[in-house]
Symmetry: C2
Subunit: 154 residues, 2 copies
DNA sequence: CCATTGTGTAATAACAATTGTTACAAATAG
DNA sequence: CTATTTGTAACAATTGTTATTACACAATGG
């Protein structure tokens, strides 16, 4: 199974916004944390905006921030916001319809795929962005305790 | 989310073998049903053989057949046999370690991914190749009932 | 009002992964 | 021995994603 990294990137971006607690962050700022190009982040933000997970404004002093509390954003919603396609792909060439199996396997596969996807989303829904934020903060606290330099940038 | 079609193809191939009920089928025969190249099927069969799901022999009159009853093969095992990678990808470029979020987000993502993958596999495990075979046969019976010509090939 | 900042978007390049194809050695059956 | 079929390598074709550049448009702040 091959996947785009959009979901992971979306969680990362949202975690930064949660960490910034209401302050607006520009696509360039987010891109710097993710280590990618601002345009990539903007495309992701469009999807997150469509799903009403973030609030993005234009112009000087603008940027994005969360649209609601991290505890009210679950990762299933994030997944649905940024991943359009089915997690499983069917071969691009159609099966041989002259074969009793090829003739009807696609329907069966689709049911299997839909069920698996639902199970996947259900699992993701159990975790909120709040959980992610707490994990991040705990990790930061731990680093500091271990004497590592307290990292600043973003 | 981008995915290879290996899993779907594997289910298709195994369904054909189940349908053929112990008769050996060549990679060319399977490829004809899937509508792909025999080498693609052979590569898939190698993975299925490694997982002991099929029994493949070489030489004249050879081919592949199931290694056990369709009811004893669940789709979770098929998934594990043919899909090496995590269903979710992390961006190829590493997050900015100088950001408190970028610094530790990967660990958190990995836990999320592992949990989702487990949920996915658990769902797949609920379906057996026997279930798939019955769906295929039911569909075939239905086509015949509806007066469609009974397809023969493969 | 105007300069600055930043998003939205298109076009396109670079890259990665999968799928498809051809070719051939090795194994096996008859 | 010959025909058949797998295993495998090498490589081309295809597809999809990510990265980059460029620029119009919107909004802000002086």
């Amino acid at each position: 199974m091959r996947t785009s990294c959009r979901f992971g990137m979306a969680v990362h971006v949202l975690a930064v916004l949660a960490y910034k607690d209401g302050d607006r962050v520009t696509s360039a700022g987010l891109a710097h944390s993710v280590n990618t190009n601002p345009v990539i982040v903007r495309r992701l933000l469009l999807a997150l905006k469509r799903a009403k997970l973030v609030d993005t404004s234009k112009g000087a002093g603008a940027g994005s921030r969360l649209n609601c509390s991290p505890n009210h954003i679950n990762l299933g919603a994030v997944y649905r916001a940024v991943e359009a396609a089915e997690p499983f792909a069917t071969p691009s060439r159609r099966p041989n319809a002259a074969c009793p199996v090829g003739h009807c396997i696609r329907q069966t596969l689709e049911r299997i795929f839909a069920s698996a996807r639902a199970a996947l989303e259900l699992d993701l829904e159990k975790t909120t962005l709040g959980d992610v934020l707490r994990a991040v903060k705990a990790s930061g606290a731990c680093s500091r305790k271990n004497g590592q330099k307290n990292k600043r940038a973003v």
